[in-house]
Structure formats: C-alpha cells, structure tokens
C-alpha cells in the first residue's frame, strides 16, 4: 500500500520566465495607455527627486526685473507676477503634488485596507457599526469633506494631507471589505483559525495579502485624486500656502487676473495638473487590468 504513494507526486515543475525587457515590452504593447500613464508617473518622480538639478532658477526667488515675461529662451514657460520662473515652480510643484498625493493616498488606503479587512473578518456588530460610519462619510462629496476638515484644522501642507486622507479611508474600506468578505469564507482562513492563530495574524498575514489587487488599484487612482484635491484646495486658498510652489496655488495666482494679458501663467500649471491626474488614472486602470485574473488570462 505504501509503495504507490511517494512515486508520482515528486515531479517538481521547472520554471521558465522571459527576461525582464521582453516582459516589459509585452506590457507596453498590451497596455499602451497604461504605459503612457506610467511614463507620466516616472517623469513626475524624476522631477521630484532631481528638482534642484533640473530647474534653472530658485522657485521662491522674486525678481522685479522679470515680471510676467512671456515664454522665451531664458524662461521656457515665462514668469509670473513676482518674476518667478514658471518652469522651475512647476518642477518644484511636482514635488508638492507627489508628496501630498502619495502620503494621503498611501495612509488613506492602508488605513482603509486594515479597517475593511477587519470589518469583514469580525462581522456582526463591529461590521455593522463600521459600515454605517463609512456610509456617513461617503455621503459627502470628496471635496466637501476635505474642505470641512481643512476648515476645522486650518490651512497648511500637513493639514491638507490629513484633509485628503480622511475621505479616502471609507472609500478604500468599502471596496476592500467586499473582497475580504469573499476571502473570509475560503478554507485557508478556517485552517488558520483551526491552527489557533490570533486575529491580527489572520488579518495581516492571511487576509490582507490576498486583497492586495483592489488595494493597489485604489492606491494609484487615489494619488491622482489627491493631486486634484490638493490643487483644488490650494486654488481655494485653503491648501498649501505661499511661497511654496504648488500647482493649484499657481493657477490661483494667474487664472483671473492674467487669463488674457499673460495666459502662460495659468496655462502651464493647469496642463501639469491635467497631465498628472490623467497619467495616474491611466496607470491605475492598466494596473487593474493586469491584476484582474479574468482579464489577464489570454
């Protein structure tokens, strides 16, 4: 009886993988829009890291000799009302946008992830209370909730991050909970309970890694949303404060007064915002397609 048992099951399949550049090229061909979005993300990252090297001038240096200069060879995107180089401020603005975007999106979706999984895992009254709180928070439009938080806490970069983070938590929690509810019924979670693991171990080690796909998608699209929200808050004067370079703030300083006389002042930061949000959304969509096994199997 015991002889038959060991023989057949020992075939270890050998793994074959294409080199990374072949995989990468395949990815670009399957998801051209996503790759374009990824390129925008990469350019922003590059600008953020090498802002000092890339930018020709000091972003906060005021020069009365060069006020509202039209784009030329010295100032590629012109200067604003204080004589500051717009290209330089856009490069530094990418830093502000990415800092606010990434921090808010990461903190918001991670807290949402844990809350959503815990809500699904514990179920019962805990789930009911958490989900009703999520309902209440989600009843507010993003910008209104963010405005309310900023109005309470006051303006400033850190408060903007907090204001943007809070509306993200329930959004992510809701999406993650629905995935986690399905996972809770899968036998490996029962196996973990039968092995006597604690709640936090089951949630963090056995459930969270298996809801990574919706989490990552939420995270990337949240970065785009957060950049837009930060720009909106700054535009309304409730976000990042002068003289820090931020796209929404630059738009505010140019939109009304100079729309006709010096259109380069509002156009370039507006373009930057549009491109960044567009890029992150395309990237998030592509990521969703790649992580969805139904779409991946071809």
């Amino acid at each position: 009886m015991a002889i038959a048992q060991t023989a057949i099951e020992n075939i270890v399949p050998e793994e074959t993988r294409d080199p990374w550049y072949v995989q990468f090229w395949g990815l670009v061909r399957r998801q051209p829009l996503g790759a374009a979005g990824g390129l925008v993300v990469l350019i922003m990252l590059f600008a953020t890291i090498f802002a000092e090297v890339l930018s020709p001038y000091d972003p906060e240096m005021i020069s009365f000799e060069h006020m509202l200069v039209a784009p030329n060879a010295d100032f590629w995107m012109g200067t604003d009302a204080f004589g500051r180089d717009i290209l330089t401020r856009i490069i530094y603005g990418a830093r502000t946008a990415l800092f606010v975007g990434f921090t808010a999106a990461f903190v918001g979706s991670t807290l949402g992830l844990i809350l959503g999984v815990a809500s699904a895992y514990f179920g019962g009254i805990f789930d009911l209370v958490v989900q009703r709180l999520v309902d209440i928070l989600m009843a507010f439009p993003l910008i209104v909730l963010a405005l309310a938080v900023v109005a309470t806490l006051g303006a400033g970069t850190l408060n903007v991050v907090i204001a943007i983070t809070i509306p993200f938590i329930p959004q992510c929690a809701r999406v993650v909970r629905s995935s986690a509810l399905a996972i809770r019924e899968i036998p490996y979670v029962d196996a973990a309970r039968a092995l006597g693991f604690g709640h936090s171990r089951i949630i963090l080690r056995h459930m969270v890694p298996n809801v990574m796909a919706p989490y990552l998608i939420m995270l990337t699209t949240f970065v785009g949303h957060a950049i837009l929200l930060e720009a909106s808050l700054s535009y309304l004067g409730l976000g990042v404060q002068e003289p820090t370079a931020a796209w929404g703030l630059m738009l505010q300083g140019g939109a009304e007064e100079f729309a006709e006389s010096a259109p380069w002042v509002p156009i370039f930061p507006g373009l930057a915002i549009t491109l960044a949000v567009f890029g992150f959304n395309l990237f998030g969509d592509a990521l969703r397609d790649l992580l969805d096994p139904r779409l991946r199997a071809r």
């Binding site: 270890v12 973990a192 092995l195 006597g196 890694p209």
Partner: protein
Amino acid sequence: MTLATERQPSSEVGVQAAEPSFLEIRDLKMYFPVTEGTVHQKVVAHVKAVDGISFSIARGETLGLVGESGCGKTTVGRCILQLERSTDGQILFKGRDLTQLDQKALVPVREKIQVIFQDPYSSLNPRMKIGSMLAEPMRVHGIIKDPKQRQARVNELLSVCGLDPKFSDRYPHEMSGGQRQRVGIARALALNPEFIICDEAVSALDVSIQAQVINLLEDLRRQFNLTYLFIAHDLSVVRHISDRVAVMYLGNLVELAGGDELFDRPTHPYTRALLDAVPIPDPEVESHRAHKVLQGEVPSPMNPPSGCVFHPRCPLAVDSCRVSVPQGREISPGHWVACSQV
C-alpha cells in the same frame, strides 16, 4: 459542568457512558439564524444544520461520517473544531467541554485537533510559500524556536507526506491538486495533533490520487497514533478507511455501527436506501437488481418534519413516526439505530 448531569440527550446513538472517551459529542445542536432587515436584524427562522446528535470516538479509531450533501456532516466537524460555536450540547475532548472554553483557552486544544479540507485549491493561502506555511504554526505555538530546526521539521513533514523537501520554496499555484492536498495534510500534522478531522479530504481528487492519499492517511495514523473523523459521501472510501461508520440525515444521526456490520447489515431504512444507490460494477448483476429509489426531496432543514425527520420518505413509516422522535437503541452489540420500525 452541571449541564452534563442535568441534560438528557435526545438521541443516544452510540454513547458509551461507562468508559471515558477520547472525544464525546453529547446532544450537539447547531442552528444558524436566518435574519431579515439591514439595521435592526430580526431572526425569522433557524436552519437546523445539526439537531441533537451524540456519538463518541475512541483513541486511535477512525469514525466515518456519511450522509447526503447538506445533511450537516461538515457542520459537525466545524463545531468540533470550534470554527462554529454550537447552539447547544457538549463536545468533550478528553473530558474537557470545548463549548465552554474561550478563544484563549482553546489555543492549546487547537494544537491537538486539526483539519484537512476538501478543496486542495482553496485550503492553502496562495500568497505564502509552502515552507513558511508549514513553519508558521510551529512558530506561533512556540514548538520549535530555532529557525534551522524548524526548516528541518518542515522538510521532515514534507517527506512524511510523500513530497520532495524542494517544495518548501514553492507557492501553492505551482503544484498539482494531489501535491497540494499532501501539503494540507502536512500542515495538519505540523503541531503533532492527536485528532484530525478529514472533511471530504479526498473527494476533490482524481480516483488514482484518492487511493494514494487514503493510503497516506492510513500510514500516518499508524505512525503517529492518530484518531480520525472521516467525513465523506463516497461510501466505498468510507468503508475502506473507517472502523465504525455513522450515518446522518437532515441533522440527525440515524445509524452507527462497525464498518463491515453497517455495510453488510444496514438496518435503518435510510442507510439501506443510501447503500442501494451505490452501483455494482458488474452490468449483469446491476441490470437484474431492483432499485429502491427514495421518493421525494430532502426536506428543508429550516422546517424539518415532525417526529422522525425521515418519515415523509420512509418506506416503513407508520402513523406514530409522524409524532414521536425515534430513540436510538442498540440492536446488536455496537450497532445503534434510530428507528422504531426495525
């Protein structure tokens, strides 16, 4: 603990009160509430998945538990594992009532009771390597603290279950169904358990792999002195592996006897119908056999029939079956049946 003396089990099929049992189930009930409403949840009915069953398992024994889908056999296993908190009744494991223990007190008991699931694809966490999956329980319970020794034990577990130790670096999706089921068995063995619940452990496997896994389970039982509760619907598998077999119908135990005794002399009308449904692998004999197919459908466990739950489909039913619940009785030594008409 006073409960033990006060309550009279409603059906005493298979209870041997004299000797202290390894595992003893007394009048176990598991009712799942059916609720209505989103905020204020009102219980409108109960699904009586397990409705008062009692049996015991001796150390080193394999008890087969059979019945149709939805008869509550898996729920019995989940109650013993304390994955579901039973509605009523006692689960005495070596004299301790598991239903009275809180989660913390259950942790040392969980080391001793393990489970092998039906589906080898969903019972392993797809994001964990086999090695860390097997090492994790030992780390959590502090059985082996040294990582090197732990890896050695993982390799040992894999080879005991007929797998190459190389597999510890692999993810579940890189393995076949049979290999995954062996990993599931290795994980169940990781904590040196005494009692393993095999919940349809071979049902999802190909017939050839099924035989291998059954042989593996038998070898392991001898090697580690294990006790099994073998939940299955495949009667030939159950007959092969079990010392005794219990038959469930709609949350109730209808018959319990030694394996060969039950299969050779089925007494309860439901057991007889169940065994009658097994085809005989000889077309000559099969074509001349008179099939007694049960009439009707299994009633809903939300609203089970009064009296004997089997009476609407029973060929032997008389008027009294509609009102009185049949008490289990021993018709020959070790052969219990819950039917008044046999």
